[in-house]
Subunit: 455 residues, 2 copies
Amino acid sequence: MEKTRKIILQEHEMPTHWYNIAADMPHKPLPPLHPATREPIGPEALSPLFPMELIKQEVSADQWIEIPEEVSDLYTLWRPTPLYRAYQLEKALDTPARIYYKYEGVSPSGSHKPNTAVAQAYYNKQEGIKKITTETGAGQWGSALSFACKHFGIDCEVYMVKISYQQKPYRKLMMNTWGAQVIASPSEKTEAGRKILAAQPDSPGSLGIAISEAVEQAATHEDTKYSLGSVLNHVLMHQTIIGQEAIRQMEKAGDLPDVVVAPFGGGSNFAGIAFPFLHLNLTQGKNIRCIASEPSSCPKLTKGVFRYDFGDTVGMTPLLPMYTLGHNFVPAPIHAGGLRYHGAGVLVSQLLKDKLMEARAHHQLECFEAGILFARTEGIIPAPEANHAIATVVAEAKRAKEEGTRKTILFNLCGHGNFDMAAYEDYLSGKLQEHELTEEEIQSSLATLDTPMIE
Amino acid sequence: MEKTRKIILQEHEMPTHWYNIAADMPHKPLPPLHPATREPIGPEALSPLFPMELIKQEVSADQWIEIPEEVSDLYTLWRPTPLYRAYQLEKALDTPARIYYKYEGVSPSGSHKPNTAVAQAYYNKQEGIKKITTETGAGQWGSALSFACKHFGIDCEVYMVKISYQQKPYRKLMMNTWGAQVIASPSEKTEAGRKILAAQPDSPGSLGIAISEAVEQAATHEDTKYSLGSVLNHVLMHQTIIGQEAIRQMEKAGDLPDVVVAPFGGGSNFAGIAFPFLHLNLTQGKNIRCIASEPSSCPKLTKGVFRYDFGDTVGMTPLLPMYTLGHNFVPAPIHAGGLRYHGAGVLVSQLLKDKLMEARAHHQLECFEAGILFARTEGIIPAPEANHAIATVVAEAKRAKEEGTRKTILFNLCGHGNFDMAAYEDYLSGKLQEHELTEEEIQSSLATLDTPMIE
């Protein structure tokens, strides 16, 4: 064979540190505020929910943080992940652009989520924690944490949004197979759940409610902590192993991307691949465009405001400086469940504010069209979340053709769609509908905010 | 890290030829017989169904057959596949045995099946074929062929057993996503289907009926051929890339297996990993035990007879010399759908007859117990078929512990269980039942045979 399709790293070439972009940012993120007093809070405020080592990482100013041996060791179950040159997609698009993708779907749970789940379970184990609670919507995060907890011998309790629990039984079964307890939320198990059920016995649940239940369990039980799959700084940092590997792989390919693209939900997917490239921009004068791809039905980066807001719907979490549509915003039930979140993580929000990255919004139909093209050329059927990045890549590749430029595009294929085939059926059968979000809907959600403004 | 978990090959290290074990067998397989005249038939009898190049491979005496460039090129979408050292499984079993597994679940459709699907689609394309028909039960084979046909621009028509079509909608949708037409069998589309439906309008279908429909469509339409996912010599040969890679990887690990294990349905899974090791036995005086693991509810290798029999239920195919439970045998509806076949491929049958390989049968419950242990230690949730091999491996590892021997065991982890979570639910909820096949049931199936005896 003349050409190499996959650029493969050996285990000993795996990065040894996570990258903390906070160290390199020209404007550091603003501090979180107490939900009630609205005064800046310190890291100790997080200690009922998280182990100290993760809290230290959350506020760390160090540029690099060493990956513990036991975490690295478990990473090797699926890492380093392959980097592909998308020859067949390039051909189908008839583009002069070179397209590469980093494939995170080779992990046991099928997405990038175990990169942080393993790290979080490890630090909890180190501090003697016996149980971790979390919430999950579509199920990617819950299954990643179930897998990680099983390895370290920690009980895992997942509050799964009731409607997802009913509609995605395979994701629930995957968590059970790894030994986790999965509870349809709202549940009778928590004060928060019981309150909701008393008011609305047939509540389909929401991510906001599930977070409340998981947080309550952690806050009220000794030896129990809570875990989050995106948004927070330490979560984003754990994902930077993706981009660091990609840099080494691009070097082996003798290429460097002009554009880096990733889907955007809370930020961990985007941070994972893009932050190490932004490091090259911030410290070595490179000029690599990093683009976050979000659904046009949940456009916090392209249409939200930069303002303090709550991480949850109920308003229990600290106030964070973020691009947000307002914590009361209810996104349309698109198939990319992992991108249905009202706000963006703090680090990404500051980077966008400082114009150090870009964002694009895509309609659901455009995303599935791109995903089907990808499946029929490159073979892998992508997760609906990943289709957003592919839509951006297709647009960039078409532009390269129009302009006659030979740019290099890299994107994060964050997971496979094996558990999302119902979404593809909706698309193929013509049932998939677009939710046209109006400016009025966004404004009416933002109008409910009474949280502090910035500047 | 001190130890390497995965042994990874680069694309340029991928084998360039398929291995044809027929060249090295001390006793060559007996010829196929015409279903009506019961006289030996030549390769030309297969030409209505298969392209000439595949027929040549079916009867080839060459030891090695070169893999065409376009096939190798598509293989690189997922090949070479990783070879893992199962450190965590070893630890859980507290065994002195070293356990390795070759992981074929990284292919786009999630199993080893694309290794032959790609080759078959390629040769059909070369001979101007416009459409390929096939049957599928659980859906692994149908989805592999759908993926391969899409790449080479061939229409793919899959007759899917109606009960599976209804119970496994995600597999059907996967095939649709790759552009295949999936038809619930029995269907109104064929003479065979119409006949069955006239007699039994609510027939749940069977693999035998689906084969009849697919074969009829190929035989009665120009530019249309038929394709099979196991049993035949050329299909088994295409899979030998698995074992060849494994040998190179074991060499890199500085180890060589004492025992090689694979699940057994029609033979392609077992042949894929074991034939290249049997080559070492047959030509270099090695003494590597190769064990086929079958369900105790469909025990053709351990309880069947070596005799001429039909490949299908209706009796349309040539008579093949095989270990069989009789073509009228109806296996219990176990979850390992890919192992529910009455007979063994010709090459494997002759090898077993000549005691050059071994076979083991396992109960379904034992297999799922082993599969859960694997998922909770090694992370990957295996396909139910793969669990049979794991059950054999666990038994061998326990024996090594009892005997205090430090043997090396390698097995083929042929696919992931992402589409089989309902089977795990049955196991975890205690609903999974064992079907105890009696000697009487086997004898009564064999008593219906009037096909030629051997010896």
